[in-house]
């Protein structure tokens, strides 16, 4: 009876511990996923805020140096996240030029790095989306009495498919990057751990099951966001 009792107690304790562990893990995973989503959506949002007007300007302006700037932007689209991470880390480092802001190893640092990665992607693809439109469409819109702002909005509406693709590419480039998040975020539990850095950690520990679970979660997350954007995109396509 005692044995049974103690056995039962042990089992219960064991079960409780296990349950706690699962619970804790679930909570951690939830936290990490949410941070990933938040940081990457923020970075994509800021990139859109910068890239859409800048890309539009590049596509429409007749400036002499336009082609040179476009070539820089296109190079920026292939910027290695670790390189971005290095430069952002150096800038935000305590002894660095922006060290007094105390941003290194914070989610904001990750957002800054990811914005630097996504902004050229959004800018470059915005410019190419608008350059694909018939250049006479601008004249036609102005000739129908559109103000410059109305003209630009009409062009965006006309190029909504490739523009949403630009947004998806921007989001894709940051939700999947690990180098910059690791270097400027530091993969600190409860603070700056995101899905990709967690996967690196779990793999490093040999916990392949966890790494695989997190990877699947990352894929689902990327899928859901892109599904949402695709639905918006294709609604306009018909």
């Amino acid at each position: 009876m005692e044995v049974h009792l103690s056995g039962g107690f042990a089992l219960a304790v064991c079960y409780k511990n296990h349950h706690d562990k699962i619970f804790r893990m679930t909570a951690d995973i939830f936290e990490v996923t949410l941070l990933s989503l938040k940081v990457s959506l923020f970075a994509t949002g800021i990139s859109l805020f910068i890239g859409l007007p800048f890309g539009t300007w590049l596509a429409l302006s007749q400036l002499r140096g336009r082609r040179f700037i476009l070539s820089l932007i296109n190079t920026g689209m292939a910027l290695p996240p670790v390189v971005v991470g290095l430069f952002v880390a150096m800038t935000l480092w305590r002894s660095g030029p922006l060290g007094n802001l105390h941003l290194i190893y914070t989610p904001i640092a990750i957002i800054i790095a990811q914005t630097i990665i996504a902004a050229p992607v959004v800018t470059g693809l915005t410019a190419s989306a608008l350059q694909q439109l018939d250049p006479r469409l601008r004249l036609q819109l102005l000739g129908l009495g559109a103000s410059p702002i109305q003209m630009v909005i009409s062009l965006w509406r006309e190029a909504r498919l490739p523009l949403l693709a630009a947004l998806m590419a921007g989001f894709g480039s940051v939700i999947s990057e690990v180098g910059a998040s690791m270097m400027v975020g530091g993969n600190i539990r409860h603070q700056t751990r995101v899905l990709t850095t967690a996967i690196v950690l779990e793999t490093g520990k040999g916990e392949f099951q966890n790494a695989i679970a997190l990877s699947i979660l990352l894929l689902i997350l990327a899928y859901l966001v892109n599904l949402g954007l695709t639905i918006i995109q294709q609604r306009g396509a018909r």
């Binding site: 018939d134 004249l139 102005l142 000739g143 129908l144 009495g145 103000s147 306009g236 018909r238």
Partner: protein, 360 residues
């Protein structure tokens, strides 16, 4: 004379140091249709873009109702005109939304947008397509939508840049007739760019000839076509004798046209009573000095005096006053044989089949 609605002064447009357009002065009057003709690359579209204030000239000024158009008032100017280009350039939206777009740019109330859009969908006979996506329209339907989009704005000035040149011939001729009708109903002042002489003769109250970026001649179609300012214009217009007349008899494909007391025969299928332009190419006219006794199958004989003889390449251009100016091109040899001199009486002969009738 009607009020001048738009006037162009000392216009100069250069592209990489090359002059592409030079117009000393051009006035467009209230209610008229000015057809600007010229070959490809003559600067016609450039002129239209300058008039639409979508291209800034290196120098020169445009005055709309007497006021110069500057940077500050160009948006309000563009909202009083409408532009139709060669390609319909519709947006990926429904036909209704496309036709409504200019009205929406002007911030008109919804009910008015709806009312005017529906009216012009109706008038251009595309009401049934209102909900169709623009990219699923045929070329003719798309250009109708583009015209409806411009007409719905009730512009004070309508600028049309070869709107029909991309269409097939039957569609084009129907659209031309419809546009002609709409322009006479609305009497909107219009600048119509084309390289097609028939279109210019059908629509234009006045014709402006643009060659190599230079405005060579502006005037009534019959004047420009019968009395070209210079050889270049003459060569471009080709048809040099244009007589405005009225169909008196039309039977079995044969037409008799009365013009200024003359009775002329032609071949065609145009109903009696219709106003026509009677066009004749100078090389289709033969001249004879013996009065009246010409043996020929040709049905038209016009007698008159030579008013001018001028060399035109290997040929000689002879202008004869037969009550109407008639222009003939003959070889130097036959001119010498006939010993033609100015003031001499001659008979101009041409076949009924050589005549080109343009209904107005």
């Amino acid at each position: 004379m009607a009020e001048t609605i738009l006037s162009v002064k000392d216009l100069l447009v250069k592209r990489s140091e090359q002059t592409v357009l030079q117009v000393g002065s051009l006035d467009i009057h209230q209610g008229e249709v000015l057809a600007v003709i010229g070959p490809n690359g003559a600067g016609k579209s450039t002129l239209l873009l300058v008039l639409a204030r979508l291209l800034y000239p290196q120098s020169g000024q445009i005055y709309f109702r007497g006021l110069p158009i500057e940077q500050e008032n160009e948006l309000s100017y563009r909202r009083r005109i409408a532009l139709v280009l060669q390609e319909p350039l519709l947006m990926h939206q429904s036909v209704f939304d496309n036709v409504a777009s200019g009205l929406r740019f002007r911030g008109l109330p919804r009910t008015e947008v709806k009312h005017r859009t529906n009216e012009w969908l109706e008038r251009l006979e595309i009401s049934r397509l209102y909900n169709r996506q623009a990219h699923r329209l045929s070329g003719g339907e798309a250009q109708r939508a583009s015209l409806a989009r411009a007409f719905a704005l009730q512009p004070e000035l309508l600028l049309l840049d070869e709107p029909f040149s991309a269409l097939d011939a039957p569609t084009r001729s129907r659209m031309l007739q419809d546009l002609h009708a709409l322009l006479s109903q609305t009497s909107i002042t219009t600048v119509f760019i084309t390289h097609d002489l028939d279109e210019a003769l059908l629509l234009g109250d006045r014709v402006a000839v643009l060659l190599g970026g230079v405005l060579c001649q502006v005037g009534r179609p019959q004047d420009v076509f019968t009395a070209p300012n210079d050889g270049e214009v003459a060569a471009f217009v080709g048809v040099e004798t244009v007589i405005a007349g009225k169909v008196a008899v039309s039977k079995n494909g044969q037409v008799i046209v009365k013009a200024d007391g003359l009775s002329l025969e032609a071949v065609g299928d145009i109903p009696t009573g219709r106003q026509v332009l009677f066009c004749l190419r100078p090389e289709d006219i033969t001249l004879s000095t013996s009065d009246g006794n010409v043996v020929s199958s040709a049905r038209n004989h016009l007698s008159g005096h030579i008013t001018r003889i001028s060399p035109s390449g290997p040929l000689v251009r002879v202008v004869i006053d037969c009550g109407l100016p008639v222009v003939a091109l003959i070889t130097r040899g036959s001119a010498n044989d006939m010993k033609l001199v100015e003031g001499q009486p001659v008979t101009a002969t041409f076949k009924a089949t050589a005549v080109h009738l343009i209904p107005r």
